[in-house]
Structures are given as structure tokens and as C-alpha cells.
């Protein structure tokens, strides 16, 4: 089938529909507004439901309601709107409901700017809301990969009964690339989950709840969730390496679009004889600590590049555990490092190595 040239945001919307999602509740915010604008037209075509909520706070709670009655549901937003969803995501995780959240990251903090950034890494992987819970976080670095990860997100959300965030820096949402879509999945093929509130007909009543006033009951819930997250960590780590099948002095660690920019620089420098590798985490939670540690073991220096003031670097440090030096370069505000800039930085680091 011929590929379609499509804007990232719209492709993400279509990917959700292909994955059998027929319910979307969202709110406009730059740079992801094309997602609701695409789905408002697409959902009626497939008999789905679209609602523009009054806020991201409301949208995230609508997700809770929809998931609780047993349907595949998605929202999308960008950084400040994602902050508003923290409350609902804590409740959704506590109730073990599946939802998919798209974060097309813009610069922050505060109102920030509308240009791309990678400054929501810690929010997504470690600080999405109060209490002991985790969100599975997937980071695409192309529109095609975004399409695939959206489909995967719905399946992982169901498998683990947990929220999943697909996190794209603002460029992914806005750029246009040729894309192949998977075949349409029929929502009817997804069985109605046993926990869904479908009405107490022929069975006792069911409750979707996260209030546990009894300390031992609350303790047990937390142990249960923690065991689940250990399963996630065991099974769902995803990453990609480039040029690591030959010796490398510097291992660049980057994700999303930053990895793509770094790869361009690495290709140019490797052609000039520099020994460079690239490690690209795809799952930010669960972070591929072991794989990075092993890959880093063969390098002399780790170079972490992010469009942030240093967020993924904390996980890189946890991988490496002090055994390799780590250099960092970061930008914010929508300032995107160019391949040439990254090339010069790597070259500078490399010359200091010898």
C-alpha cells in the first residue's frame, strides 16, 4: 500500500483509530491541536465519540469515566495541559484502568513556549502525580514510529491495566513524513473487560475506586501495583542502538527527535573515522538500565544530549553507576540543536579524549 504523507499529529490521531480507539476527549493546546481537529472529523466516520472537554483536567477525568465503562480511550495535550492531568492519572493508575495519553512536549516551565522540548521526561517517568504509581512512557523519533507506538500503547495499557503516555517533542507533532498505517482493528474484537462498569445485571455490583482508608488494604494495593510495575520493567524495555556493532569511544545517549539529530551528526563523523555509537531509549519507563549499562561499558565517555536542562541524564547516571564519565549538553525554549552543532560538540569531546 502506498505511504501517506502526513503531519505527525494527524498520523497519531489516525493511529489511535486504527488501534480500535473510538473515544477521544481532549482540549486544544499548541502544538498538538491538530490531534483533536483531526479526530473531530474522523471519529464520526468510524462511529466513534469525540468531545472537546472544558479543560484538560476535565478531559482526563472523562478518560477515567470512559475507561471505567470498558472502552478504549485516548486524550492528547502538551506540557501545561499534561500537568493538569496529574490528578486523574493517579486515580486511573490506582484503579488500574487503561488509558492512552499523548504529550506533544513544548518548552516550559510555566506557560513556556510552543516550540519543541524534552523537558517533561521527569514528569512522565517519575512525577506524573501523587502516590506510588508509574506510567509506561514511549518515545518515538519519527512519525512512522509514533504510529507504531500509539498502537503498542493501547495494547500495553490493556495488558497492564495502566495509563500509557506516548511522548513526542513538538517536532514530531508538526512535521510531515510518509507513513504506513496498520490495518483497521475492529473495536468489537476487544472483549469488554471484567472490571468494566456495565450495570449490575446478572451479577453483583462492581466499584471503580481508589479510596482505601484501611491502612492494610492500602498497603496491599501498593504492593500489588509495585509487583505489576516490576513485571512491566521485566518485559517492556525498548531501545535501539546505532553503530554499536563496532568499537566506539563515545556513546551518545538521546531519545526522540534529539536521537535523530544526533544520528545525522554521528553518520558524518563516523565517515571521518571517529568511533561513535548511539543509544536511543524508546521506553522511557521502563528505562533500559541494563542495556545501557552494557552498551556504555564499551565506551570511554557517555554524551547525553537532551532538549532539557538534564532530565534523562538522571536515568543515564543510574545505568552507568559512576563507572563512566558522562558529558551533557542541553537546550530549552524550543532551541533545537542542529546536526552541525551536535557534530562540533562530539568532535570537541572526541579530541579531548585522545
Amino acid at each position: 500500500m502506498a505511504k501517506i504523507l502526513m503531519k505527525g499529529n494527524e498520523a497519531i490521531g489516525e493511529a489511535a483509530v486504527r488501534a480500535g480507539c473510538r473515544h477521544f476527549f481532549g482540549y486544544p493546546i499548541t502544538p498538538q491541536t491538530e490531534i483533536p481537529e483531526y479526530l473531530v472529523k474522523r471519529m464520526p466516520e468510524v462511529g466513534g465519540v469525540f468531545l472537546q472537554a472544558e479543560s484538560e483536567l476535565a478531559a482526563s477525568n472523562m478518560l477515567y469515566g470512559a475507561a471505567g465503562v470498558g472502552v478504549r480511550v485516548m486524550t492528547s495535550s502538551s506540557s501545561p495541559g499534561i500537568s493538569l492531568m496529574g490528578e486523574a492519572l493517579s486515580y486511573i493508575a490506582a484503579c488500574e484502568l487503561p488509558v492512552v495519553v499523548i504529550n506533544i512536549v513544548r518548552s516550559g516551565p510555566g506557560l513556556g513556549g510552543i516550540l519543541p522540548a524534552q523537558s517533561d521526561y521527569l514528569q512522565a517517568t517519575k512525577g506524573m502525580g501523587h502516590g506510588d504509581f508509574k506510567i509506561i512512557v514511549l518515545a518515538p523519533s519519527s512519525v512512522q514510529e509514533a504510529v507504531e507506538l500509539v498502537g503498542l500503547a493501547f495494547d500495553l495499557a490493556d495488558k497492564y491495566r495502566n495509563p500509557v503516555i506516548v511522548i513526542g517533542d513538538g517536532m514530531i507533532g508538526q512535521m510531515m513524513e510518509p507513513v504506513d498505517f496498520p490495518p483497521m482493528r475492529d473495536p468489537a474484537e476487544r472483549p469488554v473487560p471484567a472490571y468494566a462498569l456495565t450495570g449490575a445485571k446478572g451479577r453483583g455490583k462492581q466499584i471503580v475506586n481508589s479510596l482505601y482508608l484501611d491502612p492494610e488494604a492500602c498497603n496491599q494495593l501498593n504492593y500489588k501495583l509495585a509487583a505489576k510495575y516490576r513485571d512491566v520493567e521485566k518485559n517492556e524495555k525498548r531501545w535501539e542502538t546505532y553503530n554499536c556493532d563496532q568499537p566506539y569511544d563515545i556513546l551518545v545517549v538521546a531519545y526522540g527527535m534529539m536521537a535523530r539529530i544526533a544520528k545525522t551528526a554521528i553518520i558524518e563523523l563516523a565517515g571521518q573515522g571517529l568511533k561513535l555509537g548511539l543509544f536511543r531509549p524508546i521506553s522511557l519507563f521502563p528505562f533500559p538500565y541494563e542495556a545501557l549499562r552494557e552498551t556504555a561499558g564499551k565506551a570511554k565517555l557517555i554524551f547525553d544530549i537532551e532538549m532539557s536542562m538534564g532530565q534523562m541524564i538522571e536515568d543515564v547516571k543510574l545505568s552507568v553507576l559512576g563507572e563512566k564519565p558522562i558529558e551533557f549538553f542541553g537546550t530549552a525554549g524550543g532551541v533545537v540543536p542542529s546536526p552541525e552543532q551536535v557534530r562540533d560538540l562530539i568532535r570537541g569531546l572526541n579530541s579531548r579524549l585522545s
Partner: protein, 252 residues
């Protein structure tokens, strides 16, 4: 002998945690009776609030959500839009609905979401120990208005039924009270109408129920009923404030 009065199917026979004299018990019973009478219990899903009624998910004998504070109308929107065949109701107090949840109720009502809201107004925050609510009356003493509500500082009490009745979207908005049996009978009529509108798929429905809180008002239940009639009813007038026109599916 024929059994002519029984525990409603829609209520779980549990001892509730409510204070002696609290009218939540009465209101719960009315909601359960309406759900039973309309024969919809098996497809009803309720959304419990944060407040004294936070444990309502235990008391109603139907599928139940526990929502975060104020967000029940958004949860109900997500559920109802995904499963329109279900009967959804939210059950909220004055903090949940009129304070933190102000935006969610406004927009659910304005969109005409086809679910039923039971709004329990007792002019105070009960569960957290008696703080001022948006519905607390001028001069009323609470733990966060220890010298009485100062309307020059924090404004006049919010009249939710009036506010929502001004929306152009069709809806059923009524205010009732439960301080005396004759008023309770009227209250049930309004709640029944509200659920009937949902069953017919007509419009959004909300019943504001003036209720007592003896514990936090610092009165006996009997004194509280008198206080409600004397002080709340004049400020929060009872009646049907809005109903759908015939063309919108209402009575002709």
C-alpha cells in the same frame, strides 16, 4: 400478610457512617427508590463524590465510580458518552459541586449531558469538619468563618440552581428540601422526574437538595430542621427552576 414496605433494591443493607440526624440517608433512599421504580437498577452507574458521601459507592446497590473531588460530572460525561445506554448519576455535596467542581458541573449542564445530578446543599463542608462552603449563609459561623461569613470579603452564597437555570441548553433543574416529610415527598417527585428525563434521553437533570448538618451546625437534628426552614429556604427558594419545553422533549 403482604409486605408493603421494604429496603430498596437500589440500596445495600449496610449501616452507614453518616451522623445521627444526617439527611444523606433519606436522600440515598429516595434515589434508590427512583432507580428501582424505573426498573433501571441493573443499568445504573453512580458516581460518588469526595465529601461525607464519599462512601456512597458502598451504599448504592449498583455499579459505582469513586471520582476525584469535583470531577464527577466529567467522569459521568466520559462514561455516558461511551455507554449512552447506561443510566448515570452523580451525587455531590456543596464543596464537590459548587466549589472545586464548579467548572465541571457548569459545562456538563451546558453541554446538556444526559445524566442526573443529585446536589446535596447543607451550607457547609461536612466531612472535613465544618468549613465554609460557597453555599454558607451570610453571618453563618464555620471553622473557616469563625466570626460568621463576611460577604464583603468572600461574597454572597452561590445559588447553583439559579445559575444553571440560566443556561440556554435544555435541562431540568429543581430545588427541594428534606427537613419535613411533606417536603421529602416533593423531593422524591423531583428526583423521580430527573431520572425520567434521563431514561427518555431528554436532557441534563439536576436536583439541589437542601439538607441539614446537625454535627457541624452545632445543633440538634430538630433544631437543624427549623434552622433550614427559617434560613436556607428564603435564600434558596424551592421549586422547579427550569424544565425542557415540549419541543425539547418536555411535557406539553
Amino acid at each position: 400478610m403482604k409486605k408493603i414496605f421494604r429496603y430498596p433494591e437500589g440500596l445495600t443493607p449496610l449501616k452507614t457512617h453518616y451522623c445521627p440526624g444526617c439527611t444523606h440517608g433519606v436522600i440515598h433512599r429516595m434515589v434508590a427508590e427512583c432507580v428501582d421504580e424505573l426498573g433501571v437498577r441493573e443499568r445504573t452507574v453512580g458516581v460518588a463524590p469526595v465529601g461525607c458521601a464519599v462512601l456512597a459507592y458502598n451504599y448504592f446497590n449498583c455499579d459505582m465510580f469513586e471520582a476525584s473531588h469535583g470531577r464527577a460530572p466529567a467522569v459521568a460525561t466520559g462514561a455516558k458518552r461511551s455507554r449512552p445506554d447506561l443510566m448515570l448519576f452523580t451525587y455531590q455535596g456543596d464543596g464537590d459541586l459548587a466549589s472545586i467542581g464548579g467548572n465541571e458541573i457548569l459545562h456538563a449542564a451546558n453541554r446538556g449531558e444526559k445524566f442526573t445530578v443529585i446536589f446535596v446543599n447543607n451550607a457547609i463542608y461536612g466531612m472535613t469538619g465544618g468549613q465554609m462552603a460557597p453555599t454558607t449563609l451570610p453571618g453563618q459561623v464555620t471553622t473557616t468563618s469563625p466570626f460568621g461569613r463576611d460577604v464583603k470579603d468572600v461574597g454572597m452564597p452561590l445559588r447553583v440552581a439559579e445559575l444553571l437555570s440560566t443556561l440556554r441548553t435544555p435541562g431540568f433543574v429543581a430545588r427541594v428540601a428534606v427537613h419535613k416529610p411533606s417536603f421529602i415527598i416533593e423531593a422524591k417527585r423531583a428526583i423521580r422526574r430527573a431520572f425520567e428525563y434521563q431514561k427518555a434521553g431528554t436532557c441534563f437533570s439536576l436536583v439541589e437538595v437542601l439538607s441539614i448538618c446537625p454535627t457541624n451546625w452545632g445543633m440538634t437534628p430538630k433544631e437543624s430542621c427549623i434552622w433550614l426552614e427559617k434560613n436556607m429556604v428564603p435564600y434558596y427558594p424551592l421549586g422547579v427552576l427550569k424544565e425542557p419545553a415540549a419541543a425539547e422533549g418536555g411535557a406539553s
